[in-house]
C-alpha cells in the first residue's frame, strides 16, 4: 500500500478571548491509497479540526501553526508529494472538491437554501471541469446530429474551441460583457446540469431530473445528505473526507448511506477519511482507526487490533462505555470530563481520568510509539 495523505506534527490553535485553544497538538496520521481510515473521539477532541486543517479551511480565529500536510496524488510517483500548507491558496482551491473533497456534518448548513440542488451540484463541475466540458460540447457541435442555425453553430464552435484551450482567456471575458453574445455559456451550464443529474442518479436518488430542480427545503434529511455526498463526489476525488456523514440521521437512513459509501468506495473513490464518534460505524466500515483525545492522536491500529486488543487506557475505557448487543451487567464509564483545551493538563492529557496514571504521566507527554506491526500507541505504559 502506498501513502496518499500524511500529516506531520500538525498544530492548529484557536485564538479566543479566553485564551489560546490548543485544538491540535502535533497530529501525525497516514492514509493509504485504497483504504478507509477512521478517526474517532469525543466531541471537542479535534477530529473535525484535523479534517479542516487538511483541507485548509480552518475558520477564524483558528490558525494552522505548524506541521505538514503532504499528499501523494500520483500513486506511482512516490517523490511527487506536495505539502498543502506551503502551496498557494489558488493551488489548494483547484484541489478542493476535485482531488480531495469533503462531506460536511450538517446537511442543512452545508447546502445553500436559496440555490436549487442542480445549481449547487453543477458548481463544482463549472469550477473544476470547464476544460473537459468545453471539449465535450465542441465534440457535440461537430457531431452530425447537431442541428443549429449554421452561422450560430460556426460562432459557437469558435468560442468553445477557444474555451477548451483556455477557459480563462481574455477574449471570453470580453464576450461575457456583451449582451446576447454572452448566452454562449448556456451550453456549458446545460452540460454541467446534465452531469449533475448523472451523479445524483448514481447515488440512488429516484427521479434525479426532478430533484435537481428542487430546493433543499423540499428534501428530507437523508436525501439532503445524499446531495452533499453527490457534491463531494462530483469530480471523482481521490480522497474523500467524511466529517460525521451519518451522525444526524436515523438508523435506517444511516444504514442506507453507509451502504452507499461502501459501494462508492469500490467504484469511484480511492480512499476515505471517516470522522465519527460512533464506534459501531468505525467497526463496520474502516480498515484502520485512529483514536483522538484532547487534540492528540493516542492510538492508531488496524480495525481488528483496535477492537480486540486495544492498548491505550482511553481506547479501552471508550470501548467499555458503549452499550453492546450482547451485554450483561452495568456499563463502565470514564470518570470526569473532557479537559478544557485552553489549559490542558500537563504531561499526558488523559492522566486526570486514567486509572493507571503514574508519576511520569503528570510530567511528560508520551510519544506515539510502534508496539507491533502497524499498531502505535502514545502511553507511558508501553
Amino acid at each position: 500500500m502506498t501513502t496518499l495523505l500524511e500529516t506531520v506534527d500538525l498544530v492548529t490553535n484557536f485564538y479566543t478571548y479566553e485564551g489560546v485553544v490548543k485544538a491540535l497538538n502535533k497530529v501525525s496520521l497516514v492514509v493509504d491509497h485504497g483504504s478507509t481510515f477512521g478517526l474517532v473521539g469525543e466531541s471537542g477532541c479535534g477530529k473535525s479540526v484535523t479534517a479542516r486543517s487538511i483541507m485548509r479551511i480552518v475558520q477564524e480565529p483558528g490558525r494552522i501553526e505548524g506541521g505538514k500536510v503532504i499528499v501523494y496524488l500520483d500513486e506511482k510517483n512516490r517523490q511527487a508529494g506536495v505539502d498543502l500548507l506551503q502551496q498557494s491558496e489558488v493551488y489548494v482551491e483547484g484541489l478542493r472538491g476535485d482531488q480531495i473533497s469533503m462531506i460536511f456534518q450538517e446537511p442543512n448548513a452545508a447546502l445553500n437554501p436559496t440555490m436549487s440542488i442542480g445549481d449547487q451540484v453543477s458548481e463544482s463541475f463549472l469550477f473544476h471541469q470547464k476544460k473537459e466540458m468545453c471539449a465535450k460540447i465542441l465534440e457535440d457541435l461537430y457531431a452530425l446530429e447537431c442541428r443549429v442555425f449554421y452561422p450560430l453553430k460556426k460562432f459557437q464552435q469558435a468560442v468553445y474551441r477557444l474555451a477548451a484551450r483556455d477557459p480563462e482567456a481574455l477574449a471570453l471575458k470580453i464576450l461575457d460583457r456583451l449582451p446576447i453574445v454572452r448566452l454562449w455559456r448556456k451550453r456549458l451550464k446545460k452540460e454541467a446540469k446534465r452531469r449533475s443529474i448523472e451523479i445524483v442518479g448514481k447515488l440512488g436518488i429516484p427521479y434525479p431530473e426532478q430533484i435537481v430542480e428542487q430546493y433543499p427545503h423540499n428534501l428530507s434529511g437523508g436525501m439532503k445528505q445524499r446531495i452533499v455526498i453527490a457534491i463531494a463526489l462530483a469530480c471523482s476525488p481521490i480522497l474523500l473526507i467524511a466529517d460525521e456523514a451519518t451522525s444526524n440521521l436515523d438508523v435506517t437512513i444511516q444504514a442506507q448511506i453507509l451502504e452507499l459509501l461502501r459501494r462508492l468506495k469500490k467504484e469511484v473513490i480511492s480512499s476515505i477519511l471517516l470522522i465519527t464518534h460512533d464506534l459501531g460505524v468505525v467497526a463496520e466500515t474502516c480498515d484502520r482507526v485512529g483514536v483522538m483525545y484532547a487534540g492528540n492522536l493516542v492510538e492508531v491500529a488496524d480495525v481488528k487490533d483496535l477492537f480486540i486488543k486495544s492498548l491505550h487506557p482511553y481506547t479501552k475505557a471508550l470501548l467499555e462505555a458503549v452499550p453492546k448487543l450482547s451485554m450483561e451487567g452495568t456499563l463502565k464509564s470514564i470518570e470526569g470530563n473532557v479537559p478544557n483545551l485552553v489549559t490542558p493538563p500537563p504531561g499526558c492529557r488523559f492522566h486526570p481520568r486514567c486509572p493507571h496514571a503514574m508519576e511520569i504521566c503528570r510530567k511528560e507527554a508520551p510519544d506515539l510509539i510502534e508496539i507491533e506491526g502497524n499498531h502505535t500507541v502514545a502511553c507511558h505504559l508501553f
Binding site: 428530507s220 436525501m223 453507509l258 459501531g280 453492546k324 448487543l325 470530563n337
Partner: protein
C-alpha cells in the same frame, strides 16, 4: 404488576393552517391511536425514527400537550386506595390542585436549552419544589443540596450558572430538577443523545440507580437501540404515530415479529469487529405523517408486502402473552427474513 398509566386510543394531531382565514386545512398525525399500559417500577423504552411521534407521546402523557382525542388514565395510589383519573381531559389547574403535576415529570433532550441560562442552579432546582410546597429558605436549600447529592454534584455547585457546567453535569442538573417533586413517573426524552459516549454511560448508570432508590417508572424515548437494550425492561417500537410492536426487550432483540423492527435492529452499527450482521436496508424515507399511507403504514417500505397490507390496517395483537405486533404476516416474519437476508451470525 400494577399499572401506573394506561393510554387508550390516544391521538394528537397538529393542525396545518392555510388560506386567508388561517383555517385548518390538514393535520400532522403525530400520534394516531396509541394503546399502551405502563406498569409501576418498569422502564419502558420507546424507539423509532425521527418524526414517528415518540416525543409527542411522552409530552402528551404528562399533559404538556392536550390530546386531540383518547384517554390517559393515571392510577393514583399515594393518598388512600387506588383511584383511576383520566388526566387527558382534566384542566391544567385541576391537575395541579390534585397534585398530579408533580408526580409526572420530564427530562428533556438537550440540557443546554432546557435550563434557563439566567438562573442559578439553586433556583433551577428549587423552582418545582416551590410550586408544590412552601418552605423556608434554609430548608429549601437543604433539600436542593440533598437532590444535588443524589445526582452526584455537591454543595459547591449551588451558586453557579448552567453555562459553567459541562454537558454531562448539565444533564445531571436537569435530572435533579425532575426528581425534585418526588415524582412517580418520568419521561426521559433522549436524555443522552446530546452527550459524548463516555459521559453517556455515566448518565445512564445514574438514571438506573435513581430508579432503584426512588422507585421510579421511566418512559425512555430514544432512537438509540443499544441504549434501550441497556436501560429498559419492555420496548415499544413506533412507526408513523403508531406502535407497531411491543414486547419485553429481550424478545424484541431476539424474536421480533415486525419487519420494521428487524430492519431497525439490523441497521445498528455494532462496535464489534467479529460480529458480522445481516443488513436489511430499507428503501426510501419515512412517509409524511400528514397523509399516512392507507392500510399498513409500513407497506411502501416493507420487503414482504402482500395485497392485504395495502388495504387493511393490521391491529396490534399478541404473538405471545406479553408480545404484541401489528403485522398481517407476523407469524411468518421470522422465516421470511431468514430466507431473504440470511440468519443472524451472532
Amino acid at each position: 404488576m400494577e399499572k401506573i398509566l394506561e393510554l387508550r386510543e390516544l391521538k394528537k394531531h397538529y393542525p396545518i393552517l392555510g388560506g386567508v382565514l388561517r383555517r385548518e386545512v390538514n393535520s400532522v398525525k403525530a400520534l394516531d391511536g396509541v394503546d399502551l399500559d405502563i406498569y409501576r417500577g418498569e422502564c419502558l423504552g420507546v424507539v423509532g425514527e425521527s418524526g414517528c411521534g415518540k416525543t409527542t407521546a411522552g409530552k402528551t402523557i404528562i399533559r404538556l400537550h392536550d390530546p386531540t382525542s383518547g384517554m390517559v388514565y393515571y392510577y393514583r395510589k399515594d393518598k388512600g386506595p387506588e383511584v383511576r383519573i383520566d388526566i387527558g381531559s382534566k384542566k391544567g389547574s385541576t391537575l395541579k390542585k390534585l397534585g398530579i403535576r408533580g408526580k409526572l415529570q420530564m427530562v428533556f433532550q438537550d440540557p443546554t436549552t432546557s435550563l434557563d441560562p439566567r438562573m442559578l442552579v439553586k433556583h433551577i432546582i428549587a423552582e418545582p419544589i416551590k410550586e408544590q410546597v412552601s418552605l423556608g429558605g434554609r430548608e429549601l436549600e437543604h433539600r436542593v443540596v440533598r437532590l444535588l447529592g443524589l445526582v452526584g454534584l455537591t454543595r459547591d455547585h449551588l451558586l453557579r450558572y448552567p453555562h459553567e457546567f459541562s454537558g454531562g453535569q448539565r444533564q445531571r442538573i436537569a435530572v435533579a430538577r425532575a426528581i425534585a417533586t418526588d415524582p412517580e413517573f418520568i419521561v426521559l426524552d433522549e436524555p443522552t443523545s446530546a452527550l459524548d459516549v463516555s459521559v453517556q454511560s455515566q448518565i445512564l448508570n445514574l438514571l438506573k440507580s435513581l430508579q432503584e432508590t426512588l422507585n421510579l417508572t421511566y418512559l425512555f424515548v430514544t432512537h438509540h437501540l443499544l441504549v434501550v437494550k441497556y436501560m429498559s425492561h419492555r420496548t415499544a417500537v413506533m412507526y408513523l404515530g403508531k406502535i407497531v410492536e411491543i414486547a419485553r426487550t429481550e424478545d424484541i432483540f431476539s424474536q421480533s415479529a415486525h419487519p420494521y423492527t428487524h430492519a431497525l435492529l439490523s441497521g445498528i452499527p455494532v462496535p464489534d469487529v467479529e460480529h458480522k450482521q445481516r443488513r436489511i436496508v430499507l428503501s426510501g424515507d419515512v412517509p409524511s405523517p400528514v397523509n399516512p399511507p392507507p392500510g399498513c403504514r409500513f407497506h411502501p417500505r416493507c420487503p414482504f408486502t402482500v395485497d392485504r397490507c395495502r388495504d387493511e390496517e393490521p391491529p396490534l395483537e399478541g404473538v405471545e402473552a406479553a408480545h404484541k405486533a401489528a403485522c398481517h404476516r407476523k407469524s411468518e416474519v421470522e422465516k421470511l427474513v431468514r430466507d431473504r437476508f440470511g440468519t443472524h451470525a451472532q
